[in-house]
Subunit: 383 residues, 2 copies
């Protein structure tokens, strides 16, 4: 293990969050090509990356469109020139003043609602601030979380209230969160079509009621990659695909080799009678996410790789304390435990890129130039 | 729910990390009184709080002694006048230069080792920098993680190597992590005595070999509260007790009413046919920690309280997405679902204070003065 990558990583203190730019660019190209081949629009979600440098690479141009999960993401992106931002978490009425301020600053920030209390708050703040806040109505296409069903009469009532107010009825939106619970392209394609139909049905209902619906927005990483028809859809949203992770590999959306994010760690000890290798990356670095626990292959707290990013056969993080990771063979493995002395660096592929990245305030980026030191890309956090 | 607390919280944007100072001070007093009654010394662990304001209140005086889990904690505390800091994670050889720099700056920073590679690195950096770095040897008292067994001949070999080098053999240390796996004071007292005996046995072995052992350090929150005899022990370490959490309540170390940390959240929607209340605190705010999942009472992603901090009967966070929490009744509950309209603020008690606090960069502090706005106490993070 004395390669060029190894030498570049050797100077980095652990634990550290490593982003493989080559893999990330490949992931970005893959989805943008797929959506372009369907003549669709893409509104990438920045909730995973929370980084201006990643935003520059994933957004079609510097101005958006973009999706965010917090108003802090929206504010930071807006300050860096992004001008079309959808805040895709049902709006908390108390947060609308910040949305109005973003709009005053020239950013087309839109929100989502799924009930009349939210819609009335959007109308009220629009009237009070003179900002015509755009709202999309969130639809429930699969029962997994928020949204109203496309056939629910509340859809028309909320839409009409928004349309008749000083707010802006921007359209409808749904997210097939249930796609995370099924495996394989066929299953994801089926949910993608269900997602599409729910959104199109709602848009048609609005049209039949004489209401506008300029935006018809769907998306999740699994369905965005599997969808084959975008008829009636104006935009697709997805986020974790920029980095991918073991969970996405476990449901067949990517290969392990596509995972662009890893945590660099160092061996600090052993319990040789138990076959344990102890490292300085515990859950504070890896996160507590155990998303693969219910998948066919349980990856523990992460899959162990050498510094090149090549998995070490059957080694996973079997246990994590705050600042200690315990590495051992996957249960049932008969591979010999490799000799990994104290001081050895390893890279851990995460269960869930969004959760692991959130444990760090910056990335160290494995750029294609093998001779350069790893640039530092800042992350932003908070709400 | 129109009390004084409610009015103070109403101005705070959610999600937010709320620290109840009155409960925290009670928790701090409880353990310091107990250890003082046994004529023991206390070295509080700052890994949970990561806050200068909390450090001021939990450390016996401004200068320490303190325990930390990262060198960043040590560096920030040292910059604020703490002069006696134990970095209680087995040292990564590459981090020793930072330890030497802390010592050059006047902070008595000590490290822990459990193998010869680490000990040799401590000796080498001590010789090279002229800083006599103190090292404690980590003991394994219960098989839960790191350390060497007290009777292992490696103990004397490592101790002698350190003593004969330009490093400083500071003593021995152990941590009864297994205390988290048992319930009740009697079980914790038994593990506390096991922890004490392991440390005392190792100290006696060093003495018999003609080696010094000035520090004999034990501790975990469960054993520190249950221990009845500190013979042969110079200091006790504990950390999460400053805030406590549902996990500690579940193993009987505290009551739910002692939990000083909570996440303030706002209701953003409902799925009434499923009995779901949807909030703006998902796992990004609560953390992915599901520590109570294997306890008698599974608290989901947290126990739901009104703004006063009083639990709402049987309501827990049953599911968490990145920025959405789904609240519902505990499985099997027959309590009616309370009416919690969109915009209602709630407080969520966490499974694991260390993990939940780490999701935020500051606390908002419920001070005893009910008329004051909530001060903001910064947290530090990273490694």
């Amino acid at each position: 293990m004395t390669s060029r990558t190894n030498a570049r990583l050797a100077k980095i203190e652990t634990p550290a969050l490593i982003l493989d730019e080559t893999r990330m660019m490949r992931n970005i190209s893959r989805l943008s090509s797929h959506i372009a081949s369907l003549n669709g629009g893409l509104r990438p979600h920045l909730k995973t990356a929370k980084s201006i440098e990643v935003a520059k690479r994933v957004l079609a141009d510097g101005a958006g469109p973009a999706t965010v999960s917090t108003l802090t993401e929206a504010e930071v992106l807006a300050a860096h020139g992004v001008r079309d931002i959808l805040y895709a978490v049902g709006i908390t009425p108390q947060k609308l003043e910040r949305v109005a301020r973003l709009r005053t600053g020239g950013c087309d920030c839109s929100v989502i609602v799924d009930n009349m209390v939210q819609a009335q708050a959007v109308a009220e703040v629009s009237a009070r601030t003179g900002q015509c806040i755009p709202a999309l109505i969130e639809l429930d296409c699969d029962g997994h979380r928020s949204g109203i069903r496309p056939q629910d009469p509340a859809l028309i009532a909320i839409a009409r209230m928004l349309h008749d107010s000083q707010a802006d009825l921007r359209g409808v939106l749904t997210h097939a969160g249930a796609s995370y619970d099924v495996v394989g392209r066929a299953a994801h394609a089926q949910l993608a079509e269900q997602e599409r139909q729910a959104a199109v049905q709602a848009a048609q209902s609005l049209g039949a009621a004489g209401l506008p619906c300029p935006v018809v927005s769907i998306g999740s990483s699994p369905t965005a990659h599997a969808i084959q028809c975008l008829d009636g859809i104006t935009e697709v949203r997805a986020g974790v695909y920029t980095f991918f992770d073991l969970f996405q590999a476990g449901i067949g959306v990517c290969e392990v080799d596509d995972i662009a994010l890893s945590v660099l760690t160092t061996v600090i000890g052993h319990q040789r009678d138990k076959g344990w290798i102890i490292t300085d990356a515990g859950w504070m670095a890896l996160s507590r996410d155990r998303g693969t626990a219910t998948q066919t292959v349980d990856q523990g707290y992460g899959l162990v790789c050498d510094p090149e990013g090549t998995p070490l056969q059957d080694l996973i993080v079997i246990k994590a304390n705050q600042e200690h990771g315990i590495i051992s063979q996957r249960p049932g493995s008969h591979s010999p435990l490799p000799d990994l002395p104290v001081g050895t660096q390893l890279r851990i592929l995460p269960n869930h890129a969004c959760a692991t990245a959130a444990q760090f305030d910056h990335y160290r980026v494995l750029t294609p130039d093998h001779t350069a030191p790893l640039p530092r890309w800042e992350r932003f956090a908070g709400w």
